[in-house]
Symmetry: C2
């Protein structure tokens, strides 16, 4: 358990590298786009993670295309090793116990192209159950505190309820789509 770096960051890096080598700076931009504005990754987090993955021989530095002989390379491109490709394939094709966590779900979905449909369905259903659970909890709590709740707090809570309801609808649509495509 030496390095327990956030599993979803490693997953996302491996996934991005699975379609070709990239250097750190570019990787960060793609990670931001993939993971969203929350869960943004800083260099102080990215580079150490890359080194950790390299140490585990899941990625390696790929020979960079040199422009001129003797030109110092300013970029370091990383690519998957065979072990890294295998590991990513496995990560993408099973629904781990945390697959419906906020962070992990997004990463999983981003790489659904590498995930068999039954697993996609399971992850989407798991995520929906998680969101519904959260929604139910929020509703009972709101109900309990209903009396004497400040009106602005109430507005916030209504917004949150609607946000969760919307996510449930979105997931339901995705599930319908998956099933339709299967039929």
């Amino acid at each position: 358990m030496g390095t327990r770096r956030s599993a979803d960051l490693e997953f996302a890096i491996l996934g991005l590298l699975s379609s070709g080598p990239l250097h750190g700076y570019e990787l960060r931009k793609r990670l931001d786009l993939l993971l969203g504005p929350l869960r943004a990754v800083s260099y102080g987090s990215l580079y150490p993670t890359l080194r950790a993955l390299q140490a585990r021989e899941l990625i390696r530095e790929s020979a960079p295309a040199r422009q001129g002989l003797g030109s110092r390379r300013s970029r370091i491109e990383y690519e998957l090793t065979d072990a890294g490709a295998d590991y990513f394939a496995e990560l993408a094709s099973v629904a781990g116990p945390d697959a419906w966590n906020d962070d992990m779900f997004v990463t999983h979905m981003a790489f659904f192209g590498h995930t068999p449909r039954p697993v996609r369905l399971r992850i989407l259903e798991g995520r929906r159950a998680r969101v519904e659970e959260r929604l139910a909890l929020l509703r009972t709590r709101i109900e309990q505190a209903e009396h004497r709740t400040d009106s602005y707090v109430l507005l916030l809570q209504q917004y949150r309820v609607e946000t969760l309801e919307r996510e449930v609808r979105w997931l339901t649509d995705l599930l319908d789509r998956e099933r339709a495509h299967a039929g």
Copy 2:
């Protein structure tokens, strides 16, 4: 700069205590309801923060109503000191430079009842500008990467765009409401 604990947690605690003394356990439940499922606060974070606030003499332990003489009190109630009440009033009535950050905005809005309307408008506008900015950035990035974007990634990005658009509409509604009430 000794303790730079997350400002919004302190703000929220002071705000909750401004309507009466509470003990830690109860405080945590209310904080969860106030701050939402993300930004949940653990005891390992709450109790040290309470001690820090106490050290700064912004809160104090209030004499608990003892059931029987000599009964060990099992709850510790906290209440605002005069300095704490003043500090909270000031926090709530000015728009600090981070008032439209994700966390701080929510706390501010929760205590809008203690905030003069012009400041409310400024915070809501600042927040809306922030969200619009994020939306614009997201859109340009999506456009740049449009070609060769995986379809699942695209679905995620569309959802994010719609989420931001929705938040902008919500803020606009709140602003309209504030202005209508003022007229």
